[in-house]
């Protein structure tokens, strides 16, 4: 235990230098502002979505419904087949949702029974806008931009067409109903929800990616240094167990990784707080994490860091010097980038099975999705991910220890005719 602490302290001293801490803060700031840019760009990337229309406005005159409908037809032009008449009652939410599901339509505008009458009487005609289940991920949610502009166009058209009545600037009012996680949220748009989820959907993947890449680069470099200076060789001849040396390196770097993680979390916390004023909070959606949930999040992050360190120590074992170490950091950053982009831009549950399997196999996917999985109650993904991470980190650590007990650490891979001796770590190992 004493030896272990001695090694951990050394590792921390080596990793937590002022230079490394400063560079981490700089990168955190850069990435955080990138997250903000991505978030604001999402609104403009829409094409005209298929839209369902329910005309509840069938008693009395329905003139103003026709105005709105004609306007929409005009906007959609040649793609007006994307405007689909719904047969559900305008106020029967269950039936509307069911029909949306059956027809694969994501947005429905339901015109109120008194729509035209209200407008004619100088009041506001009501349009209820129903949104299907919100997808997680930055670009998962169809933005409300198109519908907002449709409604405002209908407002303008209708206002211009009001004859005889009092002039009114906004004769139409829309109410949003959004399905999320199996529940209906009133006065809420998908944008509201996805921006509330943004810290999980965007910041978490970025955060994990940075931590993994940084800490991975650092440990591989430190292995390169140890090889170059022969300090590793020296360490291995001391009366210290190989498992202690490996654990010291792993735990020391894992602690450094967690410290960096906290630096980022704090930075991003302030960043998101300053950005998300006025939007929905997670707790208003009923999405809060209990102490146990936070515990699971922490364990998953820790295991992912451990897995990264395991991979890096295996890669680092083959590194000859500091320079060679730099190039070997690439595989680990790529492994962290892939799940970052995928979790940021798509929803795991909608991906083809092949990609799901690949993503699942990358250990860093799990900490990136863990918050959403907990909030949305994807119990299977949580526990399967946790189990996989546990297995993965154990296996990498086991391999690392075997390498530390073999010649490979000092000699690299020696080629024999026909067979590479990487398998020799399992046969010729000694303690």
């Amino acid at each position: 235990m004493n030896h272990l602490w001695n090694l951990i302290r050394k590792e921390l001293k080596e990793l937590l230098t002022p230079a490394s801490v400063i560079s981490i803060i700089v990168v955190a700031v850069v990435f955080a502002s990138m997250g903000g840019m991505i978030g604001s760009e999402t609104e403009k990337l829409e094409e005209l979505p298929t839209i369902g229309v329910i005309n509840g406005d069938d008693d009395g005159s329905s003139d103003y419904y026709d105005v709105a409908y004609d306007y929409m037809q005009g906007i959609y032009g040649s793609s007006s087949d994307r405007i689909i008449g719904f047969s559900s009652d305008f106020d029967d939410v269950d039936s509307i949702l069911k029909e949306m599901d059956e027809r694969g339509v994501y947005i429905v505008l339901a015109f109120d029974a008194d729509y035209s009458n209200d407008i004619a009487a100088g009041g506001q005609g009501i349009i209820n806008v129903y949104w299907g289940e919100v997808r997680t991920g930055a670009f998962g949610a169809v933005s409300t931009y198109i519908v907002d502009s449709l409604i405002s166009g209908i407002n303008t058209e209708t206002a211009a067409g009001i004859v005889g009545g009092e002039e009114k600037l906004f004769p139409v009012h829309s109410n949003n109903f959004t399905m999320f996680n199996g529940k209906i949220y009133e006065k809420t748009t998908p944008s509201d929800i996805s921006s509330a989820l943004q810290s999980q959907s965007i910041l978490m993947p970025i955060l994990i990616m940075i931590i993994i890449t940084m800490i991975g680069g650092m440990i591989i470099s430190s292995m390169g240094n140890e090889k170059e200076n022969k300090t590793l060789e020296t360490l291995l001849t001391l009366p210290v167990k190989r498992t202690t040396i490996v654990s010291g390196k792993l735990i020391g770097s894992a602690i450094a990784g967690l410290i960096f993680g906290i630096v980022y979390l704090v930075g991003m916390y302030f960043y998101t707080n300053s950005m998300s004023s006025g939007s929905l909070s997670l707790s208003s959606l009923g999405l809060t994490l209990s102490i146990t949930d936070w515990g699971i999040v922490a364990v998953v992050i820790f295991l992912a860091i451990l897995s990264a360190l395991g991979i890096c120590m295996i890669l680092g074992a083959f590194v000859k010097n500091y320079k060679a170490a730099q190039t070997l950091t690439l595989p680990i950053s790529v492994l962290a980038m892939i799940p970052m982009f995928v979790t940021m831009f798509t929803d795991f549950s909608t991906l083809p099975a092949v990609f799901q399997v690949i993503l699942f196999a990358i250990p860093f996917t799990h900490p990136m999705m863990i918050m959403n999985n907990i909030m949305l109650g994807n119990t299977l993904m949580i526990w399967a991910g946790l189990g996989y991470l546990l297995l993965f980190s154990m296996v990498t650590i086991y391999i690392t220890v075997r390498i530390y007990r073999s010649d490979i650490l000092l000699t690299g891979l020696v080629r024999k005719k026909g067979k590479k001796s990487i398998f020799s770590i399992f046969s010729r190992a000694r303690d």
């Binding site: 001695n6 001293k13 060789e233 001849t237 001391l238 009366p239 005719k417 000694r430 303690d431």
Partner: protein, 241 residues
């Protein structure tokens, strides 16, 4: 006198290359034993096997009565290994490096004693509190020798300890090694500098291409070949084969 190190029929194969070929020798207590030979002869490989860093292909090694195959842990308790061209953790000062290393051998006030001993051997004056990244080659070598000696090993294994050093530094380092042996520590060192081993070693073994070609005291060997220097002994022996 008991043998600090016994090496019997040691061979090491890297893939298809036989780097050490049936080497046998022993080092007595308090003796300075030199492995000499040109670059690539197999000196470092031999020292690494004895230091428990590499596995042997065949043969046997026993250090202070501990067998390599069954008790590598026991061997690590009684050796100190100084790799060729080694360095230290660059962000540490000389003192904190010694402190860190001492932590693996003792605890409490004994650590302080051990570090004090190390600082004495290193003899770096005030510079012991400078970062090791600012050390010259000679200073670094002194620090590392101090590190190797301060725990009081039974066998010190030193790989090319003076390589790359200037005359003054090399001279001082050799002096340090002599003093170690006077204190009863056995020393196994390697060198490709024939003059150095002549000066320093009680006994030497010459290896070339992984094979041991000669063993004896420097004067014995010079006499046997009727020459004045160990260098000439080596040349003669190498040509004869």
């Amino acid at each position: 006198m008991a043998d600090a190190l016994v090496v019997r029929d040691l061979s090491k194969r890297y893939g298809d290359h036989l780097a050490v070929d049936n080497v046998s020798f022993s080092v007595k207590e308090g003796e300075i034993f030199g492995l000499i030979g040109p670059n690539g002869a197999g000196k470092t490989t031999t020292l690494r096997i004895i230091s428990t860093l590499l596995t042997m292909t065949s043969g046997s090694v026993s250090v202070c009565g501990n067998d390599m195959r069954t008790d590598a842990d026991g061997i690590r308790k009684c050796i100190s290994y100084l790799p060729e061209d080694a360095g230290a953790y660059k962000d540490l000062t000389g003192r904190s490096y010694l402190n860190f290393m001492a932590g693996f051998f003792t605890g409490g006030s004994d650590t302080e004693k051990m570090v004090a001993k190390g600082i004495g051997i290193a003899n770096l004056g005030e510079r012991i509190d400078s970062k090791v990244s600012t050390y010259s080659k000679g200073m670094m070598r002194r620090l590392l020798i101090a590190r190797a000696i301060m725990p009081g090993p039974k066998l010190a294994i030193l790989d090319e300890i003076t390589s790359g050093l200037d005359v003054m530094n090399a001279f001082e380092i050799r002096d340090v090694v002599r003093n170690i042996a006077k204190d009863g520590v056995s020393v196994l060192l390697s060198s490709h500098n024939m003059f150095e081993v002549d000066q320093l070693c009680d006994r030497i073994a010459m290896i070339d291409n992984g094979k041991m070609i000669l063993e004896g005291t420097p004067s014995e060997l010079k006499e046997r070949f009727g020459v004045d220097t160990v260098e000439e002994v080596f040349i003669r022996a190498a040509v004869k084969r």
